[in-house]
């Protein structure tokens, strides 16, 4: 099952994929495109990624989670392409017999996904201007601007 999708992420389908009578708890995390007070007026976000490597990394992250919490079942998606305000860009779902395993593994997977998935986002502002935004919150104008820190 591919981890990348260009469609709206269907959380209920991911939950159904991991739920089972042996599972007592399901933890999920959904990351959504936000436009908070400290942000400029974002129209939408364009996510791009190295898709084959996202598949490999997310599969590795899931395998590591299952190795560390052996009774967990996991599902995850990262959306690529245009994502509107309020829509989900990422979802991680973990089912387990007990809640601590589900919560711990869910957190592990979202933290590792943030750290490891080769994904980039370009914010398209209301006026049409586009800026690259990294996970530190730093904005870099599209098409030029200062070099990344060495």
């Amino acid at each position: 099952m591919p981890y990348c999708t260009t469609s709206v992420i269907d959380l209920a389908a991911l939950i159904d994929a991991v739920a089972g009578p042996e599972c007592g708890g399901i933890a999920t995390f959904v990351g959504t495109v936000r436009c908070g007070e400290d942000d400029g007026p974002v129209r939408h976000i364009e996510y791009s990624g190295y898709e084959e490597m996202i598949e490999a990394e997310f599969a590795g992250i899931a395998a590591e989670a299952r190795a560390r919490w052996p009774r967990t079942r996991t599902a995850a998606r990262h959306r690529i392409g245009i994502v509107l305000l309020g829509e989900a860009s990422i979802a991680v779902v973990v089912a387990a017999p007990h809640r601590a395993e589900a919560l711990d593994a869910c957190r592990f997977m979202i933290e590792e996904a943030k750290r490891r998935l080769p994904v980039w986002k370009k914010e398209v502002l209301q006026g049409g201007e586009a800026v690259w935004r990294d996970n530190t919150g730093r904005r870099v104008p599209s098409g030029g601007g200062p070099r990344d820190p060495d």
């Binding site: 791009s48 190295y50 990394e57 990262h78 990422i90 943030k114 080769p118 980039w120 996970n135 990344d148």
Partner: protein
């Protein structure tokens, strides 16, 4: 002395800055990732817009700049990640 052919891929802002998303470089063996990055900075127009130590993956695996390269490897240069 053998020659390593390394397929280098640029992503997101790096592809935008340099106007291309792929270039193959040849390096004398032995070579490591930072040798290939130095070569890219030297030979590509606007190559100096790439950082000296970008995030890198070899054959779809995150590695450090000292990672040895083998002939035929794919080297990917990544701007700071922004997934999630």
């Amino acid at each position: 002395m053998s020659i390593l052919r390394i397929r280098c891929r640029l992503f997101a802002r790096y592809a935008e800055l340099l106007g291309r998303d792929e270039v193959t470089v040849e390096l004398p063996a032995p070579a490591v990732v930072s040798d290939a990055v130095r070569r890219l900075r030297d030979v590509l127009p606007e190559g100096r817009l790439l950082p000296e130590r970008p995030l890198v993956a070899v054959n779809q695996r995150h590695v450090l700049p000292g990672e040895p390269l083998a002939d035929g490897d794919e080297l990917a240069l990544f701007p700071p990640l922004a997934g999630g």
